[in-house]
Assembly symmetry: C2
Homo-oligomer: 143 residues x 2
DNA sequence: GTTCCTGCAAATAATTTGCATACCT
DNA sequence: AGGTATGCAAATTATTTGCAGGAAC
């Protein structure tokens, strides 16, 4: 299946019209392994020559998040939201507080914890938001 | 030790002058078990008759965070930051997406995970931010 | 007295909204 | 054609900053 067909399918499933801007956002998110802010996304799109406005970026991300196409989260100490494509293999990120790069980590240690919360506290867990921060390999070297 | 002495000590340790506003913020944070936003804090202070401005609240929270007196975090889907007193017993929160109340949970499941990250990825973990969300006991009943 | 803190108002940053036009189906 | 999406500019919300006066040490 071609990439663009994949995007078309995602949009159809979400009952969203296929537009150039939506395709472009899906493509950029797909290439960026890590979460991106609305503004970064906007800059990347402009750089690629896609005609789009920042408010459209926000509106599309909102729509995507509503349909479960993207996931929004926040890094500690950063006041803007970041977005990434929803991905079957649930995972987390490492944020380097020095270079600010983001590294994905496979897997998630929270399954047991969530089960425990459900049992002990009678709280139905819908999901969680976990960000781990510290110093990456490269930044450690520099010091 | 009196409560106010405790606050005085916290401020002294942080090299911060003892002012009415700082005492009041420590007190409000101490009473709220859960994290609060700057604005909520401001409203609670005003209600108590404390003369303070919103920018002072922000400035104090900033200073406190710098000194490690408070911890700032973000709840998913909420664009404003929340703050709580730093607490020796590291813990997390449950956010009910219905009533928006926040419940503390003792303990943290991430120690092993962090050790694993340090070993496998050569990334020095400084900390993490975890928020779990879902439906609390009471809100489940209502449906 | 000196330095730090606070209040006010204005600035900035992040996000949202109204409305007219343009584009999908 | 009909309804939805987009762009632009203006509105809102969250947070920060400059500066003058006030309080802590």
């Amino acid at each position: 299946m071609k990439q663009s067909d994949k995007y078309a399918e995602i949009l159809k499933k979400g009952d969203l019209r296929a537009t150039k801007q939506r395709y472009a956002i899906l493509e950029v998110l797909d290439c960026n392994g890590a979460p991106v802010s609305a503004e970064d996304l906007y800059i990347q799109l402009k750089r690629k020559g896609i005609p789009i406005s920042l408010s459209t970026v926000y509106r599309i991300l909102d729509a995507f998040q509503e349909k479960g196409i993207v996931v929004r989260s926040n890094f500690p100490d950063v006041s803007k939201a970041v977005y990434e494509l929803f991905c079957e293999e649930h995972h987390h990120h490492l944020l380097c507080v020095d270079c600010r790069r983001v590294f994905p980590v496979e897997g998630c240690p929270l399954e047991d914890y969530e089960r425990l919360i459900e049992e002990r506290l009678n709280f139905t867990v819908k999901g969680h938001n976990l960000e781990v921060y510290g110093h990456c390999k490269d930044c450690k070297k520099k010091t």
